[in-house]
């Protein structure tokens, strides 16, 4: 099912009447989620990604704008009639019911032509449980399950009624690191197997990058960039997006462009033909550095971390806006860890320059 958001806006009235001022949680969000894809809504806390999800679910009404499921306008439809599955951040499993009862609960609400017999319900519940691999836990209570198992039950409960759209609110935030890796693969697999259009919310860029077909990066209610994970990583539209994606994070420098050359701290590090002279902010991905005896970018070497496959070099430069510069170099390269300075040349496609004021990307 294709999901289309048109000029979606959510404004929360101010809680404190004296101070006044309303909060625009989501501002003019327009986006079409193609049928059968897994889309990640990514952004820092308070960027409006959960509000967007809740508006798709119907639990929150948009202040303006429209939501379409396929060709059907569901904007005014209550959550009961939207046919969505929602997995809550803390799962919201009914604590007094067994896993089986939890999964069967949505089926027991079906009415009219959709009404199922008890055997059909059991069969569907078991099917959903098998999909998320918890069919051996059917008689346990949620309190007797681990976080990851509860998560699966919540997904099974959302899937069992065959929703038109599956929504996941921070699905991995309550899991430990190892389980998080495993569960995100699992979500990917389940989504591929069922082919249900899925939207999930996360503040973890790695999570979003690793499993999404498409990412929507949001900041203060405004969509910053939409695209495939790799495309956004390789081609960020502004400094915020560049900084938000990637681990280790992008290295940011103060710089300027003069005569078609990019200068960082007085050194001409790159040719940038066609860019007019101005102050810029320069972003360089950690993998965008080459060790080079003749490199123009000279940094003060502080630490070398060998990680087997790669070498991570921590260095300092006065023009850097981050406390340290972190570069990742193939371990084939040799570096003298006792040296005072390290010299880099740059890979042009890993260097992004942004207008110092607007922070918008300047292409070169």
């Amino acid at each position: 099912m294709k999901v289309e958001l048109r000029n979606l806006t959510k404004i929360f009235p101010s809680r404190n009447k004296k101070v006044g001022g309303e909060v625009i949680a989501v501002n003019d969000f327009t986006f079409t989620i193609p049928d059968g894809t897994l889309v990640g809504l990514l952004g820092p806390s308070g960027c409006g990604k959960s509000t967007t999800l809740y508006m798709i679910s119907g639990l929150q009404k948009p202040s303006s704008g429209q939501i379409f499921f396929g060709e059907e306008d569901v904007t005014e439809l209550s959550p009961e009639n939207r046919g969505v599955g929602l997995v809550f951040q803390n799962y919201a499993l009914y604590p007094h019911m067994t896993v089986k009862q939890n999964i069967m609960f949505p089926l027991q609400n079906l009415k009219g032509a959709d009404k199922l017999t008890k055997d059909q319900m059991l069969e569907r519940a078991l099917e959903a449980a098998k999909l998320v691999q918890i069919d051996d836990l059917m008689d346990r209570k949620p309190s007797e399950l681990s976080g990851g198992q509860q998560q699966r039950v919540a997904i099974a409960r959302a899937l069992v009624k065959m929703p038109r759209v599956l929504l996941l609110d921070e699905p991995l935030s309550n899991l430990d690191a190892r389980l998080r890796l495993q569960t995100r693969e699992e979500i990917r697999r389940i989504q591929k197997e069922t082919g249900i259009t899925t939207v999930f919310v996360t503040h973890d860029q790695e999570e979003a990058m690793s499993i999404s077909d498409m990412i929507v990066v949001m900041k203060t209610g405004i969509v910053q960039q939409v695209g495939k994970p790799q495309d956004i990583y390789d081609d960020p539209t502004n400094l915020f997006v560049a900084k938000f994606l990637g681990t280790p994070p992008i290295n940011v420098f103060k710089g300027n462009v003069a005569g078609g050359k990019l200068y960082i701290g007085g050194a001409a590090v790159l040719d940038v033909p066609g860019v007019s002279d101005r102050d810029v902010t320069v972003g360089i991905r950690p993998e965008g550095f080459n060790l080079d005896e003749n490199g123009a970018l000279v940094c003060e070497l502080s630490n070398v971390e060998v990680m087997g496959r790669d070498i991570s070099i921590v260095s300092k430069n006065e023009a850097s806006l981050n406390p340290v510069i972190r570069s990742i170099i193939n371990s084939d390269s040799k570096i003298d860890a006792t040296a005072k300075t390290v010299k880099y040349s740059l890979k042009p496609h890993k260097v992004f320059i942004f207008d110092a004021k607007t922070e918008e990307r300047i292409h070169f």
């Binding site: 679910s57 119907g58 639990l59 209550s78 959550p79 009961e80 009639n81 969505v84 599955g85 929602l86 809550f88 803390n90 919201a92 009914y94 604590p95 007094h96 609960f105 949505p106 027991q108 609400n109 079906l110 409960r157 009624k161």
Partner: protein, 312 residues
């Protein structure tokens, strides 16, 4: 764990409470036990140094006395009637209160007022509401009503009913007592259940909404089970309170415990104990132990039922 050297400090802090408990709870309980098994006990002859024999004569006397059976019947009847009615009503009111925003605080206060009002005073108001003209044993005919209840019933064309005056029926008396006790018991139960409702995670309701759950099913399958610890609590304390019913009857019928012409008709267990204290302290103690036994058994049954039905 407290360091063993520091334990004396803990005991010092506990001492005031322990001393008070020993004097005002433990010692009276022991005395009650002793008196219940002491035959022909009286505090005057005890002071005179009389030697008593011990046995179960007090218990036999209590059980053989037909007034006691009447007290037991009244107490049980009132318990069985008022606890379920007040619990269900309180649940409905609490759910309604919880689902409104406008006037919620105001109505919460209104519903809580009976709790802070003296039950004798409430009883007198109820007595006035259910009253009719004429209050002597000879005046058995319902001539004209002045009570608001009969006036209200009159609007629907119902003949005035003699609720509590001389010549009233037992059923009418019990009906009045049930209304009064339920009304009196509501505030505490509403308070507890409302507190429980407000601590229920709202996401369960959001989840139910997403799954198109009908409202009645949300109530029976989500609200009630999640409230079950509070429900168990109000039922258990309701039964305990019900078995100790006394002041409510005094409030409406006076300390004669019944309508004029049939005094003692509505006497309860606690009423019997209170009446016996003057002349038969042994029997009063025995009756108190019997009451304790009944409350104990009923509470145990309540607990074992709620253990199966409650989800903590």
């Amino acid at each position: 764990m407290v360091d063993s050297k520091q334990q004396w400090k803990a005991w010092i802090y506990l001492a005031p409470a322990i001393v008070l408990l020993l004097i005002f709870t433990v010692w009276p309980i022991i005395n009650t036990l002793v008196m219940a098994f002491t035959e022909d006990y009286s505090s005057l002859s005890a002071l005179g140094g009389k030697e008593f024999t011990y046995g179960i004569k007090n218990f036999q006397k209590v059980i053989e006395y037909k007034g006691f059976i009447n007290c037991l019947k009244n107490t049980l009847l009132l318990c069985v009637l008022t606890v379920p009615i007040s619990t269900i009503l309180a649940l409905v009111i609490a759910v309604c209160l919880n689902s409104i925003k406008f006037l919620q605080r105001f109505l919460q206060t209104i519903f809580f007022l009976p709790y802070v009002t003296n039950s004798i005073a409430i009883g007198m108001v109820f007595a006035a509401m259910f009253n009719i003209v004429g209050n002597t044993a000879a005046d058995v005919q319902v001539v004209e009503t002045v009570g608001i209840i009969n006036n209200a019933l009159g609007l629907f064309g119902i003949e005035p009913i003699n609720w509590i005056n001389a010549g009233s029926t037992y059923a009418a008396n019990i009906a009045v007592m049930t209304v009064y006790i339920v009304w009196n018991a509501l505030p505490f139960k509403i308070l507890i259940l409302l507190g429980g409702l407000q601590s229920v995670n709202k996401q369960y309701y959001d989840a139910a909404k997403i799954d198109s759950t009908p409202r009645i099913r949300v109530f029976t399958k989500i609200t009630v089970p999640l409230l079950s610890p509070m429900l168990a609590y109000v039922v258990i304390t309701g039964f305990i309170g019900g078995f100790k019913e006394y002041s409510s009857i005094v409030g409406i019928f006076g300390d004669k415990m019944g309508p004029a012409g049939d005094y003692g008709r509505l006497n309860t267990m606690v009423g019997y104990i209170y009446d016996s204290i003057k002349n038969h302290q042994g029997r009063a103690s025995a009756a108190a132990l019997i009451l304790f036994g009944i409350i104990f058994i009923v509470t145990m049954i309540n607990l074992s039922v709620s253990k199966k039905k409650t989800h903590y």
